[in-house]
Symmetry: C2
Subunit: 114 residues, 2 copies
């Protein structure tokens, strides 16, 4: 039996064409845009630049089969942004995946013997 | 169904007291010490400093319940190093864990729908 003070931890992400497409950080960005309606606010909350946030969104919008975020330029605070139905589904499915991964890690502690 | 060009990737590691203890990099270090008999050679092969390698080994030796690497100072090339039975078992078990993780990731592609 593994010593009970050992735990297993990890990260999981989605790739397309061998390049990272979606991980915990991008999902958090989508959630903050969903909640604030603002890419600028979401970026601020995550201590990233507006450009960094846009680059991530453009990458996701281009590489999923439809856009995850739509936005309008202008208006106060630099326009508003909406997470699409597709984006909301992606957020939810990523959590399903992460929950399965958490179960996997918890189950694996008892399997590996050190 | 998820687009077949999506894949899931990830990393998994062992923690103790909430601190990372063993991941792919440290396992590779152990394997290179096992194969070369030399901490200096192993460090060189992984483009890390001798001190970095020693810090990792000391951390593992202190935090597992027995040493994973033993070494003798002196001799040509700065002494020789041996991976203990415990260390060999840790290498093997980490691969068991990683193989289970690979299976988990492959299985999960069909579960998540984007």
């Amino acid at each position: 039996m593994m010593d009970s003070t050992f735990t297993i931890n990890g990260r999981i992400w989605l790739e397309r064409d061998g390049q990272k497409l979606l991980g915990r950080g991008r999902v958090e960005l989508l959630e903050r845009i969903r909640d604030s309606g603002s890419i600028r606010q979401a970026a601020l909350q995550m201590a990233m630049s507006y450009k960094q946030a846009w680059d991530m969104i453009n990458d996701m919008n281009a590489r999923f089969d439809s856009a995850l975020v739509t936005s309008r330029r202008g208006g106060k605070g630099g326009g508003n942004a909406t997470v699409t139905e597709k984006g909301l589904a992606v957020i939810e499915q990523f959590h399903v995946l992460e929950n399965k991964f958490k179960d996997f890690m918890a189950d694996s502690v008892g399997v590996v013997e050190f």
